[in-house]
């Protein structure tokens, strides 16, 4: 995991990915969520819990 990911989504891709993720309840990786948050200005709502 890179918390300071240099990976930057182009805005259109970020918006499309966000819409898709929300529509399908797709699970985002930390890098994807951070990139989306940065590009869209939306805060991350994070639930941390056990996988099991």
């Amino acid at each position: 995991m890179r918390l300071h990911s240099p990976f930057v989504f182009p805005l259109a891709a970020a918006i499309a990915a966000y819409a898709s993720a929300v529509a399908t309840a797709e699970v985002l990786t930390i890098e994807q969520a951070q990139a989306l948050s940065k590009e869209t200005g939306r805060p991350m709502l994070v639930m941390a819990g056990s996988k099991t």
Binding site: I15, V22, A33, G41, P43, M44, L45, M47, K51
Partner: protein, 322 residues
Amino acid sequence: MQERLNTDGSIASLVAQFVPLKVETDGPNWGQWATKYRHEGTGIPILYVIRADGEKLYGQSGSKEGAELPQFLITHLRNSGTIFNNQQLATIKSVVDDVNKSLAEKDEFTAVKRAYTLSKLGTPGKLGSYATIAKEADEQYVKLVEQGKAALSDAQRKLTGDDKFAGVLGVVSASRIYGVIPDLKKDLVSAERDLGKNAELKPLVQAAESLDRALALAGQKMPTLQKQGITVLAAIVSRNANPAATKIAKAKLAELGADVPAATATPKGPRTWTDTTGKFKIEAELVRVADGKVELKKPDGTVVNVPLDKLSAADQAAATGK
């Protein structure tokens, strides 16, 4: 809570304003996450709200149930800056791109006008969103405001120097380009009003406005507009009513590769002639220039001869038409 976030329609509009993320506390990424984002309390689940700039707004063990959940979401959205929808973000992106393009073409007027269209989404320069493109738009607008302030300040500095026409032209031009910006409007209007109150500068305003409009048109990409600008610039040169305007118009025509007409007239009627020190002034009409001397006729009919090189640069240009 996770189930409710996905299925409760009554809070869907709030949830949609967040980017959802699940982090596994027994997964490989947990250590790094937990080091960066400390939380309070013990046990799982742990709930976090991380603002788009990476600032942690909330991090505590325990979930939010019942009416507590929507209230929790509302509270943290309030601290998350302006949240624009996808269409608004696309609009901001389009404006930022257009402004950059106009600035690359040195068309500040169009850049300012386009940047100000963001006023329909908020206060330009203070959109208050943490979205990358919105922050870029804010920075871009602030830079334009600074440019406008610098342009006005530069013009006002010139007004105190020898080349007063350049100062008047600077004020007129800054007003046309940056006048739409509320932060600058007051100062620009005040600067223009001051020109009108100053007996020495007032006569220069009309020539400056005409030249500014012509220069703006001549700088346009559209051939019809550019042609209009060239026509007006050529007229300014032919008329030669203001030597400083003539000189700038000539330079622009040459830069554009357009024909530069001959200046057919010298200034008619009395005007104020100033020496190189700026201390001595005389109201007189130009009779002729010969042997390095300028013959001037005062309103009382007396004729005085002044060495050409003793006149200010602007007056030398006025006398010689260069």
